[in-house]
């Protein structure tokens, strides 16, 4: 079956532990994710949901793999827009790897359909989120604030 996929990579001057907590801590997440955060126990099999600033659940699924501070895999299904929900589950993999004084963060998002509206929707958002995350961890402040 055809699949849609993207791979985004950023190098952040921090430690894998700090980056892991930035990716899993709700309070921290809200700062660089435009008010959105993810809710989970972050252990394999635990439910996962993405919550918009007004409390709406936009995406939900479960944690498939969690090996702090190196690898996190989430089964991810959109909930709000019917045409995106109909595409079913996607898989989002986050990999953290220490390279010199920086951490290489790779985000891979895959879905078993082509073309995919979900991949189209999330691929526009990730660069902004990653860029904000990098800026927040390296300088203590975000580059973009407010809504897109």
């Amino acid at each position: 079956m055809a699949r849609s996929k993207f791979v985004y990579v950023t190098y952040i001057r921090t430690t894998p532990e700090k980056l892991w907590s930035a990716l899993t801590d709700a309070e921290f997440m809200r700062q660089y994710w435009f008010g959105t955060h993810c809710d989970s126990q972050w252990t394999p099999g635990s439910p996962w949901k993405m919550v918009y600033s007004d409390g709406t659940i936009t995406d939900a699924g479960e944690v498939i793999e969690a090996a702090p501070p190196g690898r996190l895999v989430i089964r991810w299904q959109h909930q709000k827009r019917p045409e995106l929900k109909a595409e079913g589950d996607s898989i989002c993999t986050m990999e953290l790897e220490q390279i010199g004084t920086a951490v290489k963060l790779s985000i891979t998002h895959t879905i078993e359909c082509e073309p995919s509206k979900l991949i189209e929707a999330v691929s526009g958002g990730w660069p902004k989120i990653l860029s904000n995350l990098k800026s927040l961890l390296e300088t203590g402040s975000i580059a973009l604030s407010g809504k897109e």
Binding site: F6, V7, S106, T108, P127, S131, A143
Partner: protein, 110 residues
Amino acid sequence: MAESDDTDLLFKALADPSRRKLLDLLHAHDGRTLSELCKHLDMTRQGVTQHLDALQAANMVTTVRRGREKLHFLNPVPLQEIYERWIAKFEKPRLKALSDLKKRLEKSNG
């Protein structure tokens, strides 16, 4: 690596028509092998490899292994940083203009 080194690598990578063509090819269709990319460029396989290496060094292209193949993906994150550095601040007035326009039009409706 210092911030200025990252930026130098990025602009050097962009300062070549063949490398920009490679980015265009990946933008049109992601996840391609070296052989697929070579079909679109009039140069040796080795030449294409060198250009891809420069793009990878600048973090504009990332690769994923699939069996014996290596798939290339466009990574727009460094460009997002450039965008935020010089362009994003001009967005706010535009967004404000749109929201003002919406308010005015909706007011005249009711």
